[in-house]
């Protein structure tokens, strides 16, 4: 949120501030000293280097401490970078920490060297200790080196499904950092945010909302489903998170609920000004809406859940709640925040300052709110001036007929204050009170006149100015005062005051006919010594007198005009010329001079004495912009209330749907990584854990039971769904999904929901099948039926194994959970990705993943693969453009794994575009390619026209330069342009190579040391067969299989598409179900990313 490197600047400032207090010229002496010591500095660096390289931890630690000291002093320590980076893998935690501090400071300057440290972090990301994982992620994301963006992205994605909420929290922080490093990643990050928003942990909530605010504050749709959860969690979130969430929810509520003020506005006494709508509009609405307004229950929920936070010890939280109530609550309720705000006035001066500012704005609009606390705003002589002024401001705002007399007495004390600036402000405040409350105008005026005899010049001057303003409002009876002031003119030297008096005399010269010419005479004498401001008024006075009393003053005026003519200031010369032309009759003077009198002596409207806080109300309270009264960068406007509330049902999390979603999801995840996922979910949060795992297994077990006991009802639903399905080879697995879905739903809730679940599951299935149909191209590209068969077999096998694991679990939890079922199901909706409210997009999302999982059976038929075993390589389909964001145009892409026809170094990509609208889409083509340097792209031929529900697959080629950076471009149709990005998984950047075992070993021998990355992974026994390993590795990356002599070693070879560097992968199975994974390649970044991708692939059960 706040700038990066906040901590450093803070440190720096602090140290510098200290110096600043000691001696004003801070930079003066220190700079030459540093320069003079330069030679000795380098020497010192040498021994620091030696210390860093020593084997003793204590020496290293000492060196690191000194380096950090250097950073703190602002010296450049960047030349030590190589020596420091070496220690990044140190076992000693303190050294490690200090190295991290150093890295964050200098990584951006020394990008190449910083890369050396990356692998350490990648290793640490897998550490069993969550603290180490978290800090590795923190540091990795703080290294601002663009090259590692893909690595960061991967790390974030992984971390956001970590079992430890602490790691997930850090993932949320990393999102913001990655976004500031590379805004291109926005889309992907939004996905991650969406996922994290569903997290139930209180630790995560604050951080992810922060990330949301930073990355995509306008995607309010992501909040809908999580709104209620956030409201409920709010109290338990840590205080900093609370602030962020409350601000976000304020904005959210302003877009989603109708105004609760409409009723009050008529009743409310002080709401003379309507905030955002004009009077007439409001009145009209009042007629209509009156008494029909009922608050949305969600709106009420928010208000209710934030109220306890007013009791927080954190001023920021209290302020946040206060602004929420101010902006959202009915006016009658908003006043409860006043008490808490007044309490904040007890704390530090800075807090006071901000809170008082906000109160000042509030008190203008709703006086009643703070009236009971009037006395809390009384000024103490020990307050700093800015606080005094603010308090005074509030007191003035609160003044009314009832309390004005006490206030004025209080003001009298202030006027005598030693702090003259404050005394002057008080006089202005009195003036404002006088204009606002007519009863006391005379009293105030008299008081002010008394002040005219004050000895202090500033006070007198200020009173003169204020009196002038007051007299203007009712000049009728105040000749005496004007006379008095004319006498004062001799003593007052402050220009503003002199000018004011002169203006007054000029304006009312007819009322003081005797004095006015005399004043002009006096001032004419001193004209040359006056301030510009006063000179202008003298000219004015002269002109006015000339018009009213030309007999006496003609000569005087002309004298003054002559003086003005040769004045130094062009303003005065201009004015003189203008006045002369206007009033002195000569032959050239036009028609205007006739009206001179009217022009000069027109009735002037009295000035309005207004609060300087008047115009602040368009800023959201409690924000920086409000404090500064100017837009700060990144300020988000608080929207007006909507006329009609948007559909509140978007926040509903339907029980049946969620159950369905959840089971569906469960199945899916099971298929991917059954065991791991299982635990990760069950350990979401400590208090939740029991319930989750229980309910999870619960539904499974129940479904099992139901199967046996009352299978009939289940069967109907099952068969009904299956009948609608396309009888594909995959139908098996899908059916099982569907069955489980409806079963779970069936048993979880009662009859009526059962129906709903059926409906939804039906809907989903149909959309699934339609999706299947809509991508025939993919299927047709799959080479042989037999392969797809084997594929589906393996799929079903997996799901079977998944069920078996489930069975074991469920027996344990079965009884425990059965009685709590309902509650769990309610909880679940927050737990699982409930994508979008409508059924249709849900289906779409599901179907993409399903297509990825089940359907994409396109085989890589590269000639190079020495097919010793039957290996099916499914193609993973990625979404390029969602049909919602593409106005009906959907696009998916997959990597066909064939050598590109468009040129060397290119990776071939198949793009499938689908028209989901009911109109033709014409002229689909690519525009505005934004590629990182070096990357090339070969477009597909423009598609002239795409029929409704039609779909077409076109080939294109992209040269990714062996990096996982994204290729972004615009997909254009006749009517729209959509930004899309393709990011290749590292495995797709490779082309398989055939080679013999001997060659492999030879090549491998040449790629050791730096070029080798390795990891030990756990491999379950059933996965250690040759078949499974090859299948999995080839699925994850486009590698060629190298025939192997040993049973326990599997080798794969490939070259990178762009540069043709060899990538050699060795999987060596060890005893006790571990395996050594070794990757040898010149491209270390690719190597390490690939290693990371392969690890989970092999280790999953």
């Amino acid at each position: 949120m706040s700038g990066n490197g906040l901590s450093y600047s803070e440190q720096g400032a602090e140290a510098a501030a200290d110096l600043g207090q000691e001696a004003a010229p801070t930079t003066g002496p220190s700079a030459p000293v540093a320069f003079g010591l330069f030679s000795s500095d380098t020497k010192k660096n040498e021994d620091l280097k030696q210390m860093l390289e020593s084997s003793k931890d204590s020496a290293k630690l000492d060196a690191m401490k000194r380096i950090v000291g250097m950073i703190a002093k602002g010296k450049n320590a960047s030349e030590l970078f190589p020596a420091v980076v070496k220690n990044v893998a140190s076992k000693n935690i303190e050294i490690k920490k200090l190295v991290y501090v150093y890295l964050m400071r200098y990584a951006e300057e020394q990008q190449d060297l910083a890369l050396l440290s990356i692998s350490t972090f990648q290793r640490a990301l897998k550490d069993p200790n969550q603290l180490i994982r978290a800090s590795a992620l923190r540091v990795l994301s703080s290294i601002r080196v663009p090259i590692i963006v893909p690595i960061m992205m991967l790390a974030i994605k992984e971390a956001c499904s970590d079992l430890s909420p602490y790691v997930r929290k850090n993932a949320a922080h990393a999102i913001q950092k990655l976004y500031s490093l590379d805004p291109e990643q926005k889309e992907m990050l939004i996905e991650v945010i969406e996922k994290l928003l569903k997290d139930r942990s209180t630790l995560v909530a604050g951080s992810v909302v922060m990330a949301f605010e930073e990355v995509c504050p306008d995607r309010i749709d992501l909040i809908h489903k999580n709104y209620r959860k956030l409201c409920h969690l709010l109290v338990d979130v840590e205080e900093w998170g609370q602030v962020v969430i409350i601000h976000m929810l304020t904005r959210y509520a302003r877009t989603q609920f109708v105004s609760p003020w409409k009723d009050d506005e008529v009743v409310e006494e002080y709401s003379e000004n309507n905030f955002y709508e004009s009077d007439e509009e409001q009145k009209e609405k009042d007629q209509k809406v009156k008494n029909t307004y009922t608050m949305d229950p969600d709106h009420r929920l928010l208000l209710r859940n934030t109220k306890p936070l007013l009791q927080s010890r954190n001023a920021a939280v209290v302020m946040a709640v206060a602004q929420l109530y101010w902006h959202l609550a009915p006016k009658s309720e908003a006043s409860i925040v006043a008490k808490s705000l007044v309490r904040l006035l007890r704390s530090n001066r800075e807090v006071q300052y901000i809170v008082l500012q906000n109160i000042a704005t509030m008190s203008i609009q709703r006086k009643g709110m703070f009236e009971p606390y009037l006395k809390s705003f009384y000024v103490r002589s020990t307050d700093p001036t800015m606080i005094k002024t603010l308090k005074l401001e509030i007191l003035t705002n609160l003044a009314n007929e009832a309390n004005i007399s006490t206030l004025l007495r209080e003001f009298q004390t202030y006027v005598r204050s030693q702090d003259k600036q404050f005394a002057a402000a008080t006089i202005q405040a009195i003036g404002r009170c006088a204009t606002n409350i007519t009863e006391v105008t005379d009293t105030c005026l008299n008081g002010l006149v008394c002040l005219l005899s004050n000895r202090d010049e500033i006070v007198v001057a200020e009173s003169v100015v204020v009196i002038k303003k007051l007299l203007q409002t009712q000049p009728a009876h105040h000749c005496e005062i004007i006379k008095h002031m004319a006498k004062l003119l001799d003593n007052i030297t402050v220009p503003v005051a002199r000018a004011s008096i002169l203006w007054l005399i000029g304006e009312y010269c007819e009322r003081v006919p005797k004095i006015a010419p005399d004043v002009l005479r006096k001032t004419a004498k001193s004209f040359t010594n006056e301030d510009d401001l006063v000179k202008l008024q003298i000219l004015n006075l002269g002109a006015k007198l000339y018009l009213t009393n030309s007999k006496q003053t003609k000569l005087l005026t002309q004298y003054v005009l002559n003086l003005g003519k040769y004045d130094q200031s062009y303003d005065i010369r201009d004015r003189t010329r203008f006045i002369r032309q206007l009033i002195v009759p000569n032959e050239k003077s036009g028609a205007l001079s006739k009206y001179a009198k009217k022009i000069f002596l027109a009735q002037k409207p009295a000035p309005l004495l207004e609060s300087p806080f008047k115009d602040r109300d368009h800023f959201q309270l409690g924000t920086l912009s409000h404090t500064l009264n100017s837009r700060a960068s990144g300020y988000l406007e608080l929207s007006d209330w909507p006329e009609v509330a948007p559909d509140p049902s978007v926040r509903d999390v339907d029980v049946a749907e969620s159950a369905k979603e959840w089971t569906g999801n469960l199945d899916k995840t099971k298929k991917e990584k059954p065991t791991e996922k299982f635990y990760s979910e069950s350990e979401e949060e400590e208090d939740e854990s029991a319930s989750t795992s229980a309910s999870e297994s619960e539904s499974g077990s129940e479904s099992e039971k139901q199967d046996e006991e009352e299978g009939s009802s289940v069967d109907t639903s099952g068969s009904s769904t299956s009948s609608e399905e396309s009888s594909d080879s995959e139908s098996d697995s899908k059916e099982s999904t569907a069955k489980k879905t409806s079963r779970a739903a069936n048993e979880s809730v009662s009859e009526n929901i059962k129906k709903k679940a059926k409906d939804t599951s039906k809907k989903r299935n149909t959309s699934n099948s339609s999706d299947t149909e809509s991508t025939p191209s993919e299927k047709s590209s799959s080479d042989s039926k037999s392969e797809s068969d084997s594929k589906s077999d393996s799929e079903s096998e997996k799901s079977v194994s998944a069920t078996s694991t489930k069975k074991e679990e469920k027996q344990v939890h079965d009884k425990k959970a059965s009685n709590k079922q309902d509650v769990f199901l309610l909880d679940l909706d927050d737990f699982y990705p409930v994508t979008t409210p409508v059924a249709a997009p849900t289906a779409a999302v599901l179907s993409t993943s399903l297509t990825a999982d089940l359907e994409g059976l396109c085989l890589s038929n590269s000639s190079v693969i020495d097919v010793t075993t039957q290996v099916a390589v499914p193609t993973k389909t990625h979404e390029l453009l969602h049909r919602m964001s593409g106005k009906g145009l959907a696009a998916h892409y997959h990597f066909s794994r064939q050598p590109s026809i468009f040129g060397d170094g290119m990776v071939s990509v198949q793009v499938t575009v689908t028209n989901t609208t009911d109109q033709k889409i014409e002229n689909i083509h690519i525009e505005e390619k934004k590629l990182p340097p070096g990357m090339r792209m070969h477009d597909f031929n423009p598609i002239e026209c795409l029929e409704p529900a039609g779909s077409i697959t076109v080939p294109m080629g992209i040269d990714f330069c062996d990096s996982t950076q994204m290729a972004s471009f615009q997909l254009c149709t006749k009517d729209g342009r959509f930004n899309v990005t393709i990011q290749p998984p590292v495995g797709e950047l490779l082309l398989p190579v055939t080679m013999s075992e001997k060659d492999f070993k030879k090549e491998q021998g040449m790629l050791i040391g730096m070029n080798e990355t390795s990891a030990t992974i756990a491999v379950a026994l059933q996965n250690s067969t040759r078949h499974v390993i090859i299948e999995r590795v080839v699925k994850a990356a486009n590698l060629g299989i190298v025939p192997s002599g040993q049973d326990n070693i599997h080798r794969f070879a490939a070259k990178t598409a762009h540069s043709g560097s060899l990538v050699l992968v060795t999987v060596e199975l060890k005893e006790s179900s571990t395996a050594q994974l070794v990757i040898n390649t010149e491209k270390t970044v690719i190597g390490s990313v690939l290693l990371r991708e392969l690890k989970p692939v092999l280790s999953q059960g």
């Binding site: 949120m1 901590s7 602090e14 510098a16 920490k97 008490k339 001066r349 800075e350 409690g622 960068s633």
Partner: protein, 395 residues
């Protein structure tokens, strides 16, 4: 962010006549500088975009609190000496501008505070002062308490401290008076104790704010404080007794300060006496007053205690000590003004400090303290004290 942004701050600092008048928020062309001023040090945060200013200010205060907790005092020298620890702490407290761990209990687990003993041990054994343990608290439901706390003496002390803020006018009548109270606790209990604290007269508390450990629901429904305390010292709650209730002012000040126009001498006389103290003695009385700029010197004789007048800052302070009701302390003498200047138009205000032991001026009383969740019997203690907060007498 380059260091040069601070120049804007120094500029503002120079412009302000007093350190207190430096505005907390300073906009610069690209950044915003938010500062807090404590212990005569400015702590400045640089931010780039919109953020609730209180968020930053509150955080800075928390940083200062943490430093104070770590180093005992938060001074310039201390920060310079411990720059490494400071960096480590800040590193843990903040991640990319978002506060991470701000509970000092947790921080102390992550990074152990430096003590002389530990420095000695570290140099001998070569161990570090960074905890290698995972801070269990941060991940648990009670993030403020660490697990595995053990004490041989189990004790829980609560200090009820009330401060009177008041403005008394010339004639001695009270203009405003309100009571701000806090309950500071020092809890050293083994394990995970669950405490409840109840009051005799909870209705008295008008507005309260709690440490996050207090269960708000039970307060709402039963007016009972129920909480699992953090380990060590912490502020359990702070409350406010509103101005509507009449506040008993325990002292009075008689004063007679006058300057004459003609001569450069003025008269000065103050007497302090007790009033409504409910039989308790008023201790630690201290009178300070900021004299007008034109005052040159003061020749005073106190009947009791010592007094100092600083001719540079024009600050008069009189350390009275205990008030003996039989013999009221007074300070008498004359003020000499700069020759030629006219008499100051305002008499100085008098700030008063005092302490009354064993009395909560609002009448708040703790009823009982119970502990659940652990077997042993803790030693409990409650202390009351009334102090002057911002107590001013206008003259």
């Amino acid at each position: 962010v380059s260091r040069s942004v601070c120049d804007y701050f120094f500029e503002a600092q120079e412009r302000a006549s007093e350190a207190e008048n430096v505005p907390p928020v300073i906009p610069t062309p690209h950044h915003y500088l938010l500062s807090v001023y404590r212990h005569k040090i400015f702590f400045v945060a640089v931010i780039q975009s919109e953020v609730p200013p209180l968020f930053v200010i509150e955080f800075l205060h928390r940083v200062v609190d943490t430093f104070q907790d770590y180093f005992g005092v938060c001074s310039e020298v201390m920060i310079k000496d411990n720059v490494v620890v400071v960096y480590e702490v800040l590193e843990e407290m903040l991640d990319n501008g978002f506060p991470l761990a701000t509970e000092s209990n947790i921080l102390k687990e992550l990074i152990k505070p430096p003590t002389i003993l530990r420095t000695v041990v570290n140099t001998i054994t070569g161990s570090t002062n960074v905890g290698d343990q995972l801070p269990t608290g941060q991940l648990s439901v009670v993030p403020w308490r660490r697990t595995g706390v053990k004490y041989t003496n189990n004790e829980a002390y609560f200090d009820v401290i009330e401060e009177i803020d008041a403005i008394i006018d010339k004639s001695g009548s009270t203009i405003t008076a309100e009571i701000q109270g806090v309950i500071d606790a020092c809890v050293k209990l083994t394990g995970m104790p669950d405490l409840t604290l109840s009051f005799m007269n909870p209705r008295l508390l008008d507005d309260v704010s709690f440490h996050p450990c207090v269960r708000f629901k039970r307060w709402e429904s039963e007016r009972i404080l129920s909480f699992i305390p953090p380990d060590g010292n912490f502020r359990l709650l702070s409350y406010h007794v509103s101005a509507q209730n009449l506040v008993a002012i325990p002292v009075y000040v008689k004063h007679n300060i006058s300057f004459r126009d003609s001569s450069s001498l003025g008269r000065f006389e103050i007497t302090v006496g007790p009033k409504q103290t409910m039989g308790k003695t008023v201790e630690g009385v201290m009178v300070t007053s900021q004299m007008p700029k034109s005052v040159l010197n003061m020749t005073l004789t106190p009947s009791q205690g010592t007094h100092i007048f600083d001719p540079v800052t024009k600050l008069l302070s009189w350390d009275v000590g205990k008030i003996n009701p039989q013999k009221l302390p007074s300070l008498k003498g004359s003020v000499s003004l700069q020759a030629g200047t006219s008499k100051p138009d305002e008499n100085p205000t008098i700030n008063l400090q005092f302490k009354i032991q064993q009395l909560a001026i609002s009448g708040l009383k703790v009823n009982r303290l119970d502990m659940y969740g652990e077997k042993y019997k803790p030693f409990k203690g409650i202390k009351y004290m009334t102090k002057a907060g911002k107590f001013q007498v206008r003259t």
